[in-house]
Symmetry: none
Subunit: 208 residues, 4 copies
């Protein structure tokens, strides 16, 4: 009979618990903001304890950073970047995917805003480590859009010579700005209107 390995099960539990805290922390922070989300509320939300929490994350800030690094970056990829791969025409992909996200997102979520944008506005100016991580995720998004635009040029859907970086920045900015505006006016329809404007802008760079 072989000697039992050193509790491989525990390792899985470790990761599961960590993920539960990460997810529960995300939800609390998304709803109440980083400052508004207390560690007590987070552990209640994800059914763990103080000990469990601080075993996995040294401080509340570390949890926040992990959420940015692991959850937000994944969300950007899954919601905004990966879906674009399925479109032959990246410009159309950007527009269609935006429409899809608008359709998928419940109106109730609109008022909560974009998790990434919320954290940027709340944390960037008062916590350098947050600023660095958030910048990374934001750049990831812009980079991803820019490479799609480059692909659009390569495939002949977009005029050569267009300022790709600038356009990519503009497109991501519009997403965040649309979320912010819809949140400010508490009106989900803002979304579609702004998306329409961006559509036009992209059209002006399209080869038709």
């Amino acid at each position: 009979m072989p000697k039992r390995s050193k509790k491989p099960v525990k390792t899985r539990d470790f990761q599961r618990t960590r993920q539960r805290i990460l997810q529960g922390g995300f939800e609390e922070i998304f709803r109440r903001g980083f400052h508004g989300a207390s560690v007590n509320a987070i552990i209640a939300h994800c059914e763990t304890t103080k000990g469990g929490f601080f075993h996995h994350f040294a401080t509340k800030e570390e949890l926040g950073l992990a959420i940015v690094d692991e959850l937000l970056s994944a969300m950007v990829r899954e919601r905004w970047l990966n879906p674009l791969e399925q479109f032959e025409n990246p410009l159309e992909g950007i527009v269609q995917n935006w429409k899809r996200v608008i359709a998928d997102t419940p109106d109730a979520y609109i008022i909560l805003g974009c998790p990434l944008n919320n954290l940027i506005q709340e944390m960037t100016h008062c916590d350098e480590r947050f600023a660095a991580r958030l910048k990374q995720v934001f750049s990831l998004w812009v980079d991803g859009v820019e490479s799609q635009l480059a692909k659009a040029v390569t495939r002949g859907y977009m005029r050569k010579g267009a300022p790709l970086r600038q356009l990519a920045e503009f497109i991501v900015m519009s997403h965040e700005g649309a979320f912010a505006t819809a949140k400010a006016l508490n009106d989900p329809r803002v979304f579609a209107r702004i998306q329409g404007m961006v559509h036009e802008v992209l059209g002006s760079y399209s080869t038709k």
Copy 2:
């Protein structure tokens, strides 16, 4: 020569003290966010006391609401709306004024973001009263831009039939989005780039 009043600077002046608290509160909240700004820090910043503070504002929230109502709405008017009056062509006014604000704003302020946007992202989803006041200020801005666009049509600088409300929303969204992006990337030059994009969009509605 008239008799000088005995005390050129009155200490027991309700309005002056109130304004001092309002201004000091604004600066603290701008730098640290509403939750991050403690009443202790605010009173230290504007040289008053607990008693003085709560004599003027029943709660910290009331101070925040007063800042939105009185300071932020005034800032929107003074920085974004009133200057447009001086331009014969409102479309040019919007672009030029934006350039002016970019030039006027120290780079160090970029990272702090837009006071209005910061509060919207932090407070809208967790405080109904804030949400209502912030929406009011945001709408004031959109309304102001829209009426400029209407003037542009009247004066013949802009094509008839353009979707004025949608455009106004887009323009204000771009301002907020530009602030957010510059903050996220910690790069003031983002500003000019986004402003350039908006310039183009406006150009496409211009009668040239």
Copy 3:
């Protein structure tokens, strides 16, 4: 034309304001207890200001003492002692007057307890000056009842040799205890029951 006297009207206003504060303070303290009644609430209740309040009373404690000295002692006299004078038989007076007070007092007041008793329980053990004044009012009551009992003996309604002081103490104690019990059980009928018991006790000392 005679020189005007030195503002006699002002003197009346002074006393009126003082009485208003005294009365408003009494009501607030009666409802919320001395510690629970804030100066701010008191001045709001009697429509004066901080300045007005502290002009008339150096401290909140002074107001409390004045209430004991002036209002509570007057209430004891008017409600419990003076009415007894109208009875030929003091023993019957004590019983009948108690019945009258029970009938006069709205049930809603029962839960508030006896103003004198409330203050005694709250203040005696933590404020010597209160203790002294409250003792004075309480003694006034006992003395008054004792002299009625003496009169009852003189007039032949009560057996000679009865322990008058002890009886007087017992009677006043019953009043306070009845208030306390009715308050504890939130049941006004307790009053009548205890009054009945005291009636019997008095009966046993009566000459019939």
Copy 4:
């Protein structure tokens, strides 16, 4: 000889700590009243910290309610009800036990009054939850006395047909009233005098 446990006094002992806070809270509240007893004073009195305190009691009110439920009801049972069991004649028990309590209680405590009565007068009219719990303890006392009186009837020490509930109420009322009066007059001898009166009343219902 059994192995001694490593730590004879555990610091991290929930129940012990809780009892310490409960006891320390009781003493502070007994001396200063509920409003007068600050959490800071309580934790200093029982050597714990803010964190420790609020780990055990969510609010100061919760501590107060626990004191009523757990300490005061126990005190009523131990001091006033249980001792009666040892008497063959319950009527004599009531009188003798009262005398014993008078003899046992240091004069210095008299001025502090009865903890139960103090809380009733201070809290009943301004806190519903306190009112309910205090009523419960008070009723417990009256019920206990009533059942003793019933036993006295059964055993033939008391006349049949006596109004037991009314008598029980009267007896408890006398205890509280005696405390209140002794406190008001700052004179412990009042106690014995009132106890004498009650003795007589009971005597009139006794079968001798």
